[in-house]
Amino acid sequence: MDTSSPAVFVNAELLKMHVGKRVRTVLQVARNEGGVMIGQSTDGQQLTVKGGDPKGFPLSHYVEVIGIADGNQSIRAEICTDFGERFDAVSYNGLCQLANGKYKNLFL
């Protein structure tokens, strides 16, 4: 397992704090435009994902994106994974908050 560059669990809010760094997040696909995926983060904000699968992902599926944060609301994707239709966004959001807050030292 390659642990050389860990990705921080983020939602839209936390993405801003890690611009330029490797992050991971889950968003619900809203639309696909060319190679750009636009979706809703687990804390209800819009995110843009560049460089993902050109085919795009099915609408309203939850997709995990791991890549470099290159803006307040966008990520340059390296790996994208379709998590399907059933996903608990609220719990994921809770995880992001814990991973960046009290329990940061458990994650990075």
């Binding site: 608990d88 609220v90 719990s91 809770g94 995880l95 814990l98």
Partner: protein, 604 residues
């Protein structure tokens, strides 16, 4: 008085242990006391030579034994010692008097001579000399002879409650009745009886419970009044029965018809303020089915009419009234008032209900009827609008917010009924396995229910894991005489039977592990096939496949609803955990639960 002992005779004898000739000896008369033969001899006697003050062990020579045998030399008689020797007895400090020559002066006197001062006393009771008196007897005699004033002060000497013990019966206490129970009738194997209790408190604040039965109960029930002070004596103490203990005291007192209860004159009646230890309504859940009684305070929202409830045991009907109270934990609870509380105080509450009065209730039993039920006991007390700081807090809360808020009854949040698909019940009373295994007293009276999340870690292949069951009623069948199976419950024979699981499994979670009993319904879900199927695998496919099937069931997490009870098995008390419901993990619900639990952890 002429024929009496020579004062100081013994001293004289001792000071001159070996006189040379008889003429040297002054007149020495001693009394013979404790005259007895040595062993079984008839010729040798020993006695104590007494001069009224001192005694010395003495021996009579054989030639004088005839005097004894003839009756001339008698016990308690006087003899003049004419010749003697004092010898040291080896290994003893005392000397012994060897009387070599003596003459009888007087036959047996009435009594042993003592020095003059005591004579009158001993003359009064000559016969009792040799009878040892018990300490109690001596004290009693002393008391009788003492001046009247002294006697009064002795019986009135008040003992502190904390000094009382079962081994010392002569006490008087001065106590106030701080609680008076009702006169109750009971029936047991020996027949009917009456009993009532009072709680007594003395000046130091020590409390003790006093119980009276039958005659004593009838005698003292009208005598004891709440708040008054009494002198009590001639009660008995014994170790308090843990089950019925109401006050902090190792002992409890019993009064019978001979006990003395006297009202203390001049002491004002004082009913001490009831001390409360309130539990907020949203915390009541943790007391359900426990032994502890609790106190609550709340605003009355509803008062029901009185109903009559019939007791199953003796067909007695008792009045009951339910009231609903609310407090600032934003929850409501129903309190059942019984007997007098239902009729008198309950009626008062009904009349006041529109004013939303505050009630403080002490000593409520917490049951699980309909989730949560608070019930009054005979010792419960209820105060309407008591003068307490909590009353003011509740009053202001209710006036500002409480009366408008719709509050949930706490009963709805607690559910000890396990439902098959009830996800919610899987999340109430969630505990770790260690919580169950660390407390071996759980489930002593009634089984306690918990939810756990655990992995099945081991199913032993070498246990008896199923039983032959009737296809109709699922009860155990026995092999019939001819062929087939006999069901006792259905009273029928059947060629076929089904196998149903009954087994133990080991479960583990992050806190520890435990063995749980699992029945057919849940075992099927855990193992993944019916008992009949597993049996088929074992017999047709072989032992290895059978064991593999069991192994495959392990390390899968489940949500279980379990009951914990304490059972006795071969004189050993064992904790039994039984699975009552099983459900797969609902990841989403589990995550939410965990997030909430995490939020409760604080990191310093």
């Amino acid at each position: 008085m002429a024929k009496t002992v020579t004062p100081g005779a013994i001293a004289m004898l001792l000071s001159n242990p070996s006189p040379d000739s008889t003429s040297e000896i002054a007149e020495i008369i001693v009394q013979v006391v404790d005259l007895k033969p040595i062993g079984s001899s008839t010729t040798r006697f020993t006695f104590m030579a007494s001069d009224g003050k001192m005694k010395i062990k003495a021996m009579l020579p054989t030639h004088l034994s005839s005097e004894v045998n003839s009756g001339k030399l008698q016990n308690l008689g006087l003899i003049r010692i004419l010749d003697y020797t004092c010898n040291t007895i080896p290994n003893q400090t005392d000397k012994a008097l060897i009387v070599t020559k003596c003459e009888v002066v007087s036959p047996a006197l009435d009594c042993e001579i003592k020095s003059e001062a005591e004579e009158t006393a001993t003359l009064l009771k000559p016969k009792e000399e040799s009878v040892p008196k018990s300490a109690a007897q001596i004290v009693y005699e002393q008391r009788i002879n003492a001046a009247p004033a002294a006697r009064l002060s002795m019986t009135r000497r008040v003992h502190p409650l904390c000094s009382l013990n079962p081994y010392q019966g002569n006490w008087t206490i001065k106590v106030r009745v701080t609680n008076k129970g009702n006169l109750r009738t009971y029936k047991n194997a020996k027949g009917e009886g009456q009993v009532f209790n009072v709680e007594l408190t003395d000046e130091d604040g020590t409390q003790i419970q006093a119980t009276m039965f039958n005659e004593a109960a009838k005698k003292f029930y009208p005598k004891f009044e709440l708040g008054k002070v009494y002198y009590i004596s001639k009660g008995t103490l014994r170790l308090a029965n843990r089950q019925f203990k109401t006050v902090q005291n190792d002992y409890e007192m019993n009064l019978n018809e001979n006990s003395i209860v006297e009202e203390a004159q001049g002491e004002g009646a004082f009913i001490p303020e009831t001390k409360y230890n309130f539990v907020k309504i949203d915390q009541v859940g943790s007391y359900v089915n426990g032994r502890e009684v609790i106190d609550v305070i709340g605003v009355v929202q509803n008062v029901s009419p009185t109903v009559s409830v019939r007791r199953k045991i003796n067909n007695e009907t008792i009045p009951k009234r339910d009231i609903t109270i609310a407090d600032d934990s934003n929850m409501t609870v129903v309190v059942s008032l019984w007997n007098d509380l239902a009729t008198t105080l309950g009626q008062e509450l009904l009349e006041l209900v529109d004013t939303a009065p505050v009630v403080a209730i002490k000593a409520l039993k917490v049951g699980d009827f309909q989730g949560v039920s608070l019930s009054t006991l005979s010792k419960s007390t209820l105060q309407i609008n008591p003068d307490l700081p909590e009353t003011k807090v509740l009053r202001s809360w209710y006036d500002s917010k409480g009366k408008d808020v719709t509050m949930a009854p706490i009963a709805s949040t607690l559910s000890s009924i396990s439902t098959k698909t009830g996800q919610r019940s899987m999340y109430s009373d969630r505990v770790y396995l260690s919580h169950i295994t660390n407390d071996q007293t759980l489930g002593q009276e009634k089984p306690v229910f918990f939810s756990i999340k655990a992995y099945v870690s081991l199913i032993r292949p070498d246990q008896a894991m199923w039983y032959r069951a009737c296809k109709a009623c699922n009860k155990k069948v026995t092999e019939a005489v001819g062929s087939g199976y006999w069901c006792e419950a259905c009273q029928k024979n059947d060629d076929q039977c089904s196998l149903r699981y009954i087994m133990v499994m080991k479960v583990s979670d992050s806190s520890g592990e435990a063995w749980v009993s699992v029945f057919n319904e849940h075992a099927e879900k855990i193992i993944g096939c019916s008992a009949d199927e597993l049996y088929r695998i074992k017999s047709e496919e072989g032992e290895e496949k059978f064991q593999l099937k069991l192994k495959e069931a392990t390390w899968i997490p489940h949500l279980f609803r379990v009951s914990v009870s304490l059972s006795e098995y071969m004189n050993e008390r064992r904790q039994r955990i039984t699975v009552r419901a099983q459900a797969p993990i609902d990841c989403s619900a589990e995550m939410r639960y965990m997030l909430e639990e995490i939020s409760k952890i604080s990191i310093s």
